[in-house]
């Protein structure tokens, strides 16, 4: 890709200091987001995917710290070097975020309209009346029926899907260049999830913004992302173009993940099991974070953290033995066609 990235995350390390010890929630994460694309970040609970997104906006709890040496370069500016005031101008304006649970993210004592207007008034030089008009337009755009009426309703008067639409309206009201969506549809029913994802695709086409889509659902990733970052234990395990990732998997964790989900599109004999449990972030194993659950792990994996190997242009895998995954995949494909 010769385009200039909109966002560059370099060596991001976010640690939390707790009574029990240091939680290395994010430990050296690198990725880029290009204008207009959707980057999917997929991982299980505790993989660090949400902390990564909160770190970009510097919205961490007081006991969390982004370590020296981490770089978050957005549109040419290093966000790490900005003052809190400057950062506030970026949040909600250039980078907006939508959260998993809209009922928690919306303020229950203000109407939906007031909350959208707040963002508009803060970042744009418009009068209150104009802001209200813009809020109604946004609500219409996200498919809320009777926006003139809904604008004066409180969050509890809306259904879950409508609330998430209102959240999207709020996030997009200032036409951000980057939208971070952290599990935007996890709390919703599947038919409503389909509506919201469709809406996000449409709005992305219209506004041309880049999206970071964070989810645990590999299906959502496959259908919505252009490129994918797979995270595990606070590190990037594999990153590739979405088609490449599914066709040419090169990391044992990604491989296990893809084979352990029940699927509608194919018949499955027995689901693959990734053995063991997700490691406790307080006590990550030495060496590769996945070594305790990996079929291919040996002495080397228990000692050294593997580097990110570039397998092809833009396809990286953090595994010494990515070739073995390739063989396993070839075997499986041969088995399927036989």
């Amino acid at each position: 890709m010769d385009k200039k990235p909109l966002l560059q995350v370099r060596n991001l390390k976010t640690y939390f200091y707790t009574e029990d010890g240091i939680v290395k929630a994010v430990d050296g994460v690198d990725f880029e987001v290009y204008p207009g694309e959707t980057l999917g970040i997929v991982g299980e609970s505790g993989s660090g995917k949400s902390v990564t997104s909160l770190s970009i906006l510097r919205l961490l709890d007081p006991n969390g710290e982004i370590l020296e040496g981490s770089e978050i370069i957005f549109d040419g500016k290093n966000l790490m070097e900005l003052s809190e005031d400057e950062m506030r101008k970026i949040r909600g304006n250039d980078i907006a975020m939508i959260f998993q649970e809209p009922m928690v993210a919306l303020n229950p004592v203000f109407t939906v309209g007031e909350q959208i207007m707040e963002a508009i008034l803060l970042h744009q030089d418009v009068s209150k009346n104009e802001a209200r008009k813009m809020a109604i337009d946004m609500l219409r755009k996200v498919g809320i029926p009777e926006p003139e009426k809904r604008v004066d309703e409180y969050p509890h008067e809306l259904s879950g899907g409508m609330r998430q639409r209102a959240m999207i309206a709020m996030a997009l009201s200032c036409r951000p260049k980057l939208l971070i969506a952290d599990e935007p549809t996890t709390a919703l029913d599947v038919t409503i999830q389909a509506q919201i994802l469709e809406l996000m695709r449409e709005l992305q086409k219209e506004y041309g913004m880049a999206i970071i889509l964070i989810t645990h659902d590999v299906g959502v990733i496959a259908e919505n992302a252009d490129r994918v970052v797979v995270m595990y234990g606070g590190m990037v395990m594999e990153t590739a173009d979405v088609k490449e990732l599914f066709r040419e998997t090169r990391h044992p964790y990604t491989w296990g993940l893809l084979n352990s989900i029940p699927r509608l599109d194919i018949e499955q004999e027995r689901l693959y099991n990734i053995p063991g449990i997700v490691p406790d972030p307080l006590h990550f194993p030495p060496g590769c974070r996945f070594n305790t659950r990996c079929e291919f792990a040996d002495e080397r994996c228990r000692k050294e953290i593997p580097p990110l190997y570039e397998i092809k242009n833009g396809h990286f895998s953090r595994c010494f033995y990515y070739k073995k995954v390739e063989e396993a995949q070839k075997l499986k494909k041969a088995g399927e066609s036989a």
């Binding site: 599947v190 599914f246 029940p262 689901l271 997700v278």
Partner: protein
């Protein structure tokens, strides 16, 4: 299917919840959570019950297990009517009178089948009062038997295990109470049950917080298993688990089913999990069954527009997979005020005039394939 034995038969099950308001807590409306639902579960099979939130799938499971009392309808387990087991005696008698005696006096005995025939023979043999005495005696034993037959695995492994007591007690409490195991056997049996679900036997002295989500769900399964049940209702049993842990628990449940000849009612919102687990699938929408068919039938040729839309809404983890998206408009309506006619008609892409007026009945369109739609298969 005919050679298979029916384990559970649900007839016209209705469950309404009252909405109370005002100083005197008068009933102002009813939530029609489950509205006239009938189905059968055969021994040894897995029935998947799928639907979105508010469709009544959990209420069906809870009512089946008698954690809720049904508003009306009949639940037959192992060829015994169990509906009246948990009623006060005078109500139970009234129920028997209404359901059986009145029918026996009015209708032609040769038309009776199944449970009706069985109870009619009993009535002929013992007379009316003998019939009551026989069925209403030993209710405590019958209740206990019922509890032993049916068990549940809950969705949230964090709230379904009491944090104050040790695993040993959690797992053995029920079986000891129902005399499935003796007190002297507790340690051995708990150990065996835990090891069967992949938990180290020595961990029975630990507390729930010392286990991860997946392990807790295994403990929940061990607890159900030790009762020696025939049917396990699994209510979103894997929904709260991470993907890599979910497949472990799914595979465990399938292995246990084979080993113990268990029957599952597997309740989930996730059609892909349902497809992997089930032999037969029931799709619910707003308190009604809209489609009931074998897995193959349902996934090869879904006939109800809702089933089709639900399938197309599931994201498929394969970027090369091309599918036709059917995006439903609007939200699921409230079960307090369900739409007239077919409950799905306001969101249905192929609804016609009749759909808003007349409620479609669940009918057998093909052998073993039931669908409640005026125009089955019209949404392509």
């Amino acid at each position: 299917m005919s050679e298979k034995r029916v384990l559970v038969k649900v007839d016209n099950l209705v469950k309404y919840f009252p909405i109370r308001a005002g100083v005197f807590k008068r009933i102002v409306a009813w939530v029609r959570a489950v509205d006239d639902v009938s189905f059968e579960i055969y021994e040894g099979e897995t029935v998947g019950l799928v639907g979105e939130s508010g469709c009544g799938k959990t209420t069906v499971g809870m009512t089946l297990l008698r954690l809720y009392e049904p508003t009306s309808g009949r639940i037959i387990v192992d060829n015994e009517d169990t509906t009246f087991y948990f009623m006060p005696k005078f109500k139970a008698k009234k129920y028997l009178q209404k359901t059986y005696i009145e029918k026996f006096k009015k209708e032609d005995p040769s038309s009776f089948t199944g449970i009706d025939k069985k109870y009619y023979d009993l009535y002929k043999e013992l007379g009316e009062s003998g019939f009551y005495n026989k069925l209403l005696s030993e209710l405590n034993e019958k209740k206990s038997e019922f509890r032993k037959t049916m068990q549940i695995v809950f969705q949230d492994p964090y709230s379904s295990l009491n944090p104050r007591i040790r695993i040993k007690t959690i797992v053995s409490e029920g079986p000891v109470l129902h005399k499935v195991i003796k007190k002297s056997e507790v340690i051995d049996k708990v150990k065996a049950a835990l090891e069967e679900v992949g938990i180290h036997g020595d961990h029975m002295y630990r507390f729930p917080h010392q286990f991860s989500g997946g392990q807790r769900q295994r403990i929940g399964i061990a607890r159900s298993l030790l009762m020696n049940p025939k049917l396990i209702v699994a209510d979103e049993a894997v929904a709260a688990l991470d993907v890599s842990i979910r497949s472990q628990v799914i595979n465990l449940m399938l292995d246990l089913q084979k080993k113990h000849n268990l029957t599952y009612l597997f309740i989930s919102h996730d059609l892909s999990v349902i497809k992997y687990m089930s032999d037969r699938v029931i799709v619910m929408y707003l308190g009604k069954i809209v489609e009931n068919a074998s897995k193959k039938e349902l996934f090869d040729e879904p006939l109800h527009p809702y089933t089709r839309a639900l399938m197309s809404a599931i994201p498929v983890p394969n970027p090369d997979y091309k599918k036709k998206r059917i995006i439903l408009k609007g939200d699921v309506p409230s079960p307090v005020n369900p739409p007239s006619g077919c409950r799905f008609h306001p969101r249905c892409p192929v609804a016609k005039e009749i759909c808003s007026k007349e409620e479609p009945q669940l009918r057998e369109v093909k052998p073993g394939h039931f669908v409640a739609c005026h125009f089955p298969g019209s949404l392509k």
